[in-house]
Symmetry: C2
């Protein structure tokens, strides 16, 4: 017998079935933006005991914030927006989530089918919003008044929570049309929430034939373990450390690999390759490259791989990439930790003794040059990065903006025993959504949360600062008034460079701090940065440190360092 329900009650039960399905597989966070059509979904989340709701008015910020939450928690996060253009603001974050394999559950409230196709208000095609950037798309239609379809929707919720995580984590959209009225009656009784069970599918043991093929390729030969961006944590760092020991080869560790900092074995971790690989390439030619995580940030490293043409074995646990990069030889669809362990278990012949030692010597030299005596007391990004990492306590988060800051972290951050999680949006490496992603990640359990970003990046996501109120965090804004990265590119030679590439905003960001209630300090001398940072961390609440950069001075210092490394290496 079908239940007798008002349409408003039916809408809420429908929304609740989906939300409870998701929650029953461990989903606990929802980020919503205001709207009318999304009302049943918001009420369902509000009434669910396991769901924590956060509100963000600007859907673009909401999506990047959710991305940060999911990146930090490594669990799917729900996004809810109303009908019309609202969910389209999620798109940049959806693309980033697709490429950086972050699970997002995109719930788009829609108008019902009968309102489509004739120009009704806020009505558009929401079924083809995110193109090829979704893992899956569902549209269960308007609320059904019977138990069976509602149970099916609950089941869909459970399945989606799993599908967002495996085999290839990423965004999933569920389009949810609702008919009016959107509010339930005041006495509606919601079903008891289901018990939450997290998905913990055990990864498959790597295939023995595959491991043998890998061993044949790498054992006894000089090679490189390359660790790009990944969120695999300390267990992975330890496993890679043991693998490098077993093969006696260097680990070229991208700053986002989180191999540079922490308590694991870092004897073979190389952090200054960006400086020495170009001048030293001839002397250190690898016979193989085993890559974990994403492509590295360093252009010098990519050019080195291109130049030395060593065959690359790429661990791609999610089979994320349909094809291989140039000189890519094998895609390994295996859990990275199990892969390390399986290779170690075979006790492969290590590389010749001199191989890893050569990298060690280059690393040491580059690190010594790293901190030359400061000629002038201008802030310089290399020293900013170094001081920043020095000051951060154990269990910190350092979120990096793209463009220059991530490259400066790559060049100038060394190796440290503290556990500092370094993160960035490297799926498509945009300058967008940086403040919001940082704020989302900063919800995690860190001793201190700091972000480092340039002024265009900061401006691009200024609206994100609305969510900073009441949070303990520090944003270090590297202000070189424009897209300083182009100063290192050929575009800087064009007459229209300043206007079309550098695109300075000329904003005084102290006013942005005032608008959003952030504490503000300006740094104009390198020597004052440390004390300023320590004060900002100690004072609590949201803090902005604006570091004023002289662009020409920075480029000069950067060139000087490169030249010094090259000269030392050819001595």
């Amino acid at each position: 017998m079908p239940e007798k329900l008002s349409l408003g009650d039916s809408n809420l039960l429908w929304a609740y079935a989906l939300i409870d399905g998701l929650a029953s597989r461990g989903v606990t966070q929802a980020v919503i933006s205001p709207g009318s059509r999304s009302t049943p979904l918001v009420i369902a989340c509000d009434h669910h005991p396991a769901i924590q709701i956060r509100v963000q008015v600007d859907e673009r910020c909401a999506a990047f914030f959710a991305l940060g939450l999911a990146k930090q928690s490594q669990q799917p996060v729900i996004l809810i927006a109303t009908s019309g253009s609202a969910p389209a603001h999620w798109f940049p974050a959806v693309i980033e989530a697709n490429h950086s394999t972050i699970p997002l559950i995109l719930l788009t409230a829609d108008r019902p089918p009968e309102l489509h196709g004739w120009g009704a208000n806020q009505t558009t095609d929401q079924q083809r919003l995110f193109g090829s950037h979704l893992r899956a798309f569902y549209d269960p239609g308007p609320a059904e008044n019977e138990t069976l379809p509602r149970d099916q929707l609950h089941k869909l919720g459970r399945e989606i929570a799993t599908q967002a995580m495996q085999p290839h984590p990423g965004p999933i959209q569920v389009n949810m049309p609702f008919r009016e009225p959107l509010l339930p009656s005041s006495n509606i009784c919601l079903p008891e929430s289901a018990t939450a069970q997290r998905n913990t599918a055990a990864p498959a043991t790597p295939d023995a034939t595959l491991i043998e093929a890998i061993i044949r390729q790498i054992a006894g030969k000089p090679g490189i373990i390359l660790c790009g961006a990944s969120d695999l944590g300390a267990t992975f760092a330890q496993a890679v450390g043991r693998l490098a020991e077993s093969l006696d080869c260097p680990i070229l560790a991208d700053p986002l690999s989180n191999m540079r900092n922490g308590g694991h074995d870092k004897r073979r971790v190389i952090a200054h390759y960006d400086a020495f690989l170009e001048p030293a390439a001839e002397a250190i030619r690898p016979h193989w490259v085993l890559r974990f995580g994403a492509l590295p940030v360093s252009k010098a490293l990519l050019q080195y791989l291109e130049k030395t043409q060593a065959p690359q074995l790429i661990c791609d646990p999610y089979q994320q990439w349909p094809s291989l990069p140039p000189h890519g030889k094998l895609s390994i669809a295996t859990d990275p930790i199990l892969l390390c362990e399986a290779i170690i278990a075979k006790q492969p012949t290590p590389a010749p003794k001199a191989w890893c030692a050569a990298f060690g010597r280059l690393e040491q030299r580059a690190a010594t040059i790293m901190t030359p005596e400061t000629v002038e007391d201008h802030p310089f990004e290399g020293e900013i990065v170094d001081t920043l990492l020095d000051c951060l306590p154990d269990r910190s988060l350092l979120f990096s903006g793209n463009s220059m800051p991530i490259r400066q972290l790559d060049s100038w951050s060394g190796v440290r025993d503290k556990q500092i999680q370094i993160a960035a949006n490297r799926g498509v490496s945009g300058i967008d959504g940086t403040i919001s992603t940082f704020l989302g990640m900063a919800q995690g359990d860190y001793s201190v949360a700091v972000a480092l970003m340039g002024d265009l990046t900061f401006y691009h996501d200024l609206n994100g600062l609305l969510a900073a109120a009441g949070e303990d965090l520090v944003i270090v804004l590297i202000n070189n008034n424009g897209g300083g990265i182009f100063g290192y590119l050929p575009q800087s030679s064009l007459n229209s460079y300043e206007h079309y590439w550098n695109t300075a905003t000329d904003l005084n960001f102290q006013h942005a701090a005032t608008l959003y209630g952030l504490g503000y300090k300006q740094v104009t001398q390198q020597s004052t940065f440390r004390a300023t940072l320590e004060q900002s961390i100690a004072s609590g609440g949201p803090q902005l440190i604006e570091v004023m950069i002289d662009r020409d001075y920075s480029i000069e210092r950067h060139r000087h360092y490169r030249a010094a490394v090259a000269q030392q290496l050819t001595k």
Copy 2:
């Protein structure tokens, strides 16, 4: 014989062929955001004598700004962004452009095919970005070194400029992959630019059988001409005025129809229907409705159409809507002005005399009540709108935000002889991109440009203010601290209303004005608004007037007015 060209030169010639093709069909404006991969496109625009470039760092603002430019000029505008997530920020504006039939040429710089599919930096699928919201999509591939394909690309440029305008104006994407190097040699010689010819396809004369069918439906019977949002200008307003005279029927004119203000015959224009249609519906039942433009803003009018069930004839010149609204009887794919003229030429029997007079009386009564004596000196939106329209000189632009301001304009703006262009984004009626669209439109030749918007709308597009520097314009910010529209909806009864629906930002917008260099004045009393507005208009430069609204007072005044109209009508 193929020319001998460097890859950099080839890239620029390739980009220039497309840009010159577009320019040769009258395209003159480009809005760009900074990036590296888009370099050949930017240089091509920079070198083209007919193209004016504007720079916007935030691609979301860039797209809405371009939308405003195109909306105002009624010509296609070029958008250029670099590869990765950058063009995804255009999406909300693309959806709006789709539904409000605004021509945009979306040029997305891409990485070449060989960099796709294996995780290369800033590389993603840009070929399926905008789903069903495009009129067309092209990808001519990387630069070809021969004349023939380049000529074909020039031809494509010409065709696209036309296709963006007819038969159904809207957005078109051209994905442009470029291989490095992206810069041309310094001595490159560009071909002479082609002569610009605008597309001026004459609209087809309406079919005689169709006109006869329409006449049969409407002649001699009481009916309504309904004018929704359209950008058809004074000639259309005159034609509709004559049609209404010939049929002796009222014109229910949405504020965005631009029928309420101007020098045309306004004797039959009804502007206060939102107030009287509900109480008076029984007394004035139409036998037909002839609609021009989009669906109207007024909910009372939509409910009246629903209730009276008169068959609707809908002029849809672009065949924009695949289906008809409830009670839709005929979709007329004809030029609106020619349609008016064709009906007039048939000298149809007018409606019974009393019909139009009844609307006239209701209009007059509602207009008298409109300005009741102010009890308290709080700012009230009805009086803000009235004063604003009073103060604006001839040939002004008034851009309205969505949500409450457009509804308040609908309720409280009367009929005036001055030419005031009232515009808004009603394609999908979002609160997004309002500042940027306004700034884009304000580039047109207006005596004064003013925008009216709420605080959530203002916050949502705060980044757009970066483009306000040096412009003469006034933004009237109606600040009721949150989504005041929900105060009129059932959601206001929920416990979580303030938190999840009203979503106040609590921002002090004076700091936003300081950040972006706008003059700032706050209005806390209705009596000071006129002088403040006049001062702001007179002082030049970008100006912000923040009007502080007491939400409860406004809702009370609004209810009071409705009750007074209803009471007067039943006397």
